[in-house]
Symmetry: C2
Subunit: 312 residues, 2 copies
Amino acid sequence: MKMMIDNILVTGRLVNEIKNLVANLQLSQSFRFKEEATIQQDDFMWADAFVGFGPSPTFHLEELKWVHSLGAGVDSFLRGTEWNKNVLLTRTVCSFGQKISEYCLSYMLSDLQNHHLFEKIQTEKRWEVQPPRSLASQTVIVFGTGKIGEELAKKLTHFGCHVIGVSQSGKPNPSFNISGSIKETSKYFQQANWIINTLPLTNQTVHFFNDELLSNFNEAVFINVGRGDSVHQPSLLSAIDEGHIKRAILDVFDEEPLPSTSSLWDHPNIMMTPHISAVTSPEEGVNCFIQTLEKIGRNEMLENEVDVMKGY
Amino acid sequence: MKMMIDNILVTGRLVNEIKNLVANLQLSQSFRFKEEATIQQDDFMWADAFVGFGPSPTFHLEELKWVHSLGAGVDSFLRGTEWNKNVLLTRTVCSFGQKISEYCLSYMLSDLQNHHLFEKIQTEKRWEVQPPRSLASQTVIVFGTGKIGEELAKKLTHFGCHVIGVSQSGKPNPSFNISGSIKETSKYFQQANWIINTLPLTNQTVHFFNDELLSNFNEAVFINVGRGDSVHQPSLLSAIDEGHIKRAILDVFDEEPLPSTSSLWDHPNIMMTPHISAVTSPEEGVNCFIQTLEKIGRNEMLENEVDVMKGY
């Protein structure tokens, strides 16, 4: 379906950077760049398209033809609301796979190369040889075999990791050494050194990492670069206590910023980062948005269109 | 030249592990497995071949036909002595390139992903977004374009790093984005984020990293996975003071174990590890030795033969 997009409302934390970048592009469309809190009813009446990281406080779909998410996840748009299927929803697909790969590899390598041990023995002026372990000795279970999980698998297998991809559909994906549904892959869970969550948040993945799933693992390190709500937090804490999970590295939380009252901050087996594993840069955000806008204008296939029924 | 190897003397820190592995192989040769300190004159009279990490205290070449180094570097055999060119010298070539790549990447990624910052702000229960920098934004100068430097370049360019290889000969190497002699590549030094030394220690590379060379850089991080003696230590310390070098990550030292009196231990800009970036495992050590032994028996080309004039 060909669609005329004339008026575009842009918001979110990158609004000023995007305004400057778009100004250089001499586009034929009209733009309004607004902070989320200042968007009014009139803006939504005017706009054909909404561009942001999530719905603004006054967000509603009625007059919109297209919503473009500046992030990879669209759960904030879809969850808890009724989407109008006539409104196109697209998401940002850029170098997130590479970014998340580097994030995961950094923590895997820090562990395998004994960074903390060597830092400690240096302060003690001790020479204590402890050979690193190689990536090729590691088994990694990646939950989610979409664009991000796939790119991660390519990077990990390049180093000889044994990478198993788990997806809802179980559709085979050749970027993984093995891929399939939970049922097909659960026999490998026991031998996993690493579990990496890249799943989108949908009604099917809320509290997906629960007691039952986590009890399959044995001293694995859990990395969450997906969404905080995919993890049932009490289950994760029990799994750490029981040794199913050795350590957790969390970049995403059910509430962000994580409140200072959370018990996660000073848990000795939890390492956390403030949702930085795949930050959209202004340049990449604008590139993806402009490419999508141009494809819509030419009525071309959109690779970043969200299936609102599936939620990703 | 075909060579009969019947009697093999094995020594060094892996001697017991190698003894066990060799025992399973049903080889026709005779072996003596000895700790370095217990090797006697008679052992050298008996042996055709010597296998170890370096010369034992009583080491001499007279009756030997072949010396095989269990490490990648052969400087301990060649430097300060006169080698008899009739004696074949081979070295261990195995997954050292992969190992050193993982070592270097671990420290590069830890820095680019702000590990220390995030560790600190977690203890302060602070949510402070600091986006990681990507490997693709980094320029790396690799000194040494041999097997190890080449494998490192392949891994780094896979992530989009801009990798420049520097060698004595300047011979082009397609695994690097750019390669050449110091003269040909020095124009890139100013923009380097990382300098990695993989050079072998020879008479040409002793104190190679001196004031003159290091003054070309601007806030680069220096990683030494080659040999400690390639660096003139006072020059490195001045280069850190003057900002040419931002930080040094050292795995090798002119004296090992590093004496507790060394000023390097508590230098705030020096991170050190106890020569672990490329540890020979017993299995890999035996594999490479056996392959070399078999090739000698069949009079085949040896890829791991050392050019004793060049020293590598």
